[in-house]
Symmetry: C2
Subunit: 344 residues, 2 copies
Amino acid sequence: MPAPTDAELFDIGDLELQSGFTLRGAQLAYKTYGTLNADKSNVIVHPTWFGAWHDANEWSVGPGKACDPDKYFIVMPNQLNNGLSTSPSNTPPPFDGPHFPAVTFYDQVEAQHRLLTSKWGIESVELVLGSSMGAGQTYQWAVSYPEMVKRAAPIVGSSRTSEHNQVFLKSLRAALSLDPAFRGGHYSPDALPTQGLRAFARIYAGWGFSQAFYWGREYRSMGFSSLEDFLVGFWEGFWLDGRDPNNLLAMLWTWEHGDVGRTPGFDGDTEAALRSIRCPLIAMPARTDLYFPPEDEQWASQFIPNGEVRVIDTTWGHFGGLGLNVADNEFIEEALRELLDRPV
Amino acid sequence: MPAPTDAELFDIGDLELQSGFTLRGAQLAYKTYGTLNADKSNVIVHPTWFGAWHDANEWSVGPGKACDPDKYFIVMPNQLNNGLSTSPSNTPPPFDGPHFPAVTFYDQVEAQHRLLTSKWGIESVELVLGSSMGAGQTYQWAVSYPEMVKRAAPIVGSSRTSEHNQVFLKSLRAALSLDPAFRGGHYSPDALPTQGLRAFARIYAGWGFSQAFYWGREYRSMGFSSLEDFLVGFWEGFWLDGRDPNNLLAMLWTWEHGDVGRTPGFDGDTEAALRSIRCPLIAMPARTDLYFPPEDEQWASQFIPNGEVRVIDTTWGHFGGLGLNVADNEFIEEALRELLDRPV
């Protein structure tokens, strides 16, 4: 699945980042579903996960679903650095490739807020939801704009990236950077570090799905005939399919440094940031997620005044929250529906 | 901690491997503790884990411990490929380095059996125990020599390497092999693929200890002051400290292909091999082990006539079974003592 070509672009102007750099003429690629109603009261925001484009979120949208385009105006902003929005791969010198400045979850939400307010004049959002890094953006929305966000549903992701999760990310970076073709990020578009991406894929494969998933060879239900077929066909295929290494490392940086406590005004105090969330929030970690284990969300939930944790009981590990498994999607769907029906 | 220099060497002669190759003039490095009694009835065998030498097992030995050298004759054979026994790093051409033939757990135990029988005329073993790959060798001993092994205690390891575990191992190999200095295994001793070993270390770091271990920053109890200090000081330090990359990959191959069902006579039938074990066997997986989860041992135990599983309730993950954590050592010690006291 190469990058989708159906995104629209919006110029959010110059965006001053937490790193101190300014992204000049930054653009967000987005797609919308449904129609914004007259009083702009039917908005859902659904940001993207690591390495994904908006199309990876489309499983959640459809008539009769919680995210029903007949009822809601659903905005899927592609996160900065995913290759469709402003990213290392599409930025001219001097901020091209490995010279692209670091972007935080706070910055991502600032960009998305500008899209919503500048383009449509939106002042309130019925629901923010997102999986994995999308969950990181969801938490950030709830902290950055507590008056604006009415409900939040972070799925298989966290408000602060745990140290264990960081180790996983550091291992991905170490492997990808080892490929001599990577050249410190100064690779040629004609000579991508494909061996590095394949190693990256193999590391990811062990983390993405659970022990039980592999034990039961559940990859067969996805159309893969053996372990090696899955590792090459699914995992290497995914990362080799139009995903730019500098973009991946830029998103990795955002993820690794995820922490709502870094929101201006909280001075690194994650607990205080979580306490500031006003809306009802249902966190949905997956029981067998190896890098976003439910314990992280149970920890965060205790500080969120209207927080709740619902664990997805799945063997699909992290991927239980990414829309690939029908049973897990139904569980998520049920929670989203209940949350949207809740008067706030 | 560099390789210990207190091992003795025994020439086990030519060893025909399951791969069809013959290791000519193979040597096992070993260390013994205590004294073999007159009727040779006080033998304990304790093989080594991945990347480790016999000294990593010494935590289990001491007066008053289950493995008491005043009572038992404890033999710690270094597994082939660990750099002290015959290995890619110490074998002359044509079987040197990456040309070294593949060694299975069955082959490892054949070599160790020859040491015990040829050197000392030992015909029975009171206990075989081992952690991680040492557990793989323990299971193999119980299957290869059911008449000889009286008790077995595999710790944080399995009778058949699961597919998920294989994915972890494949990711290690992919990362190490990426380092241009690796040169397909034809690296110079003066130019080791240290960057590959560092990436290897970072991957391993995420797997070796549990999410909860990192969440609680338990590495501080090991003398490391921050996550990065732990990753470099402990993890990179461990793999850079005299561990030869070809040796590591050779051991990795043994581990990845671990399966007692490959013992001659069982034709790949792991369950039948497990059913053939005659001795009492206490498997001790760690509750939070990410690559040898307790479920694997619970699966195996159902086929072992006298099998039992005791889960080490630890946050130290796989390393809970490697002798580093006092509380976990005491749990293991208790089980070993009970097993050794059991009349058979």
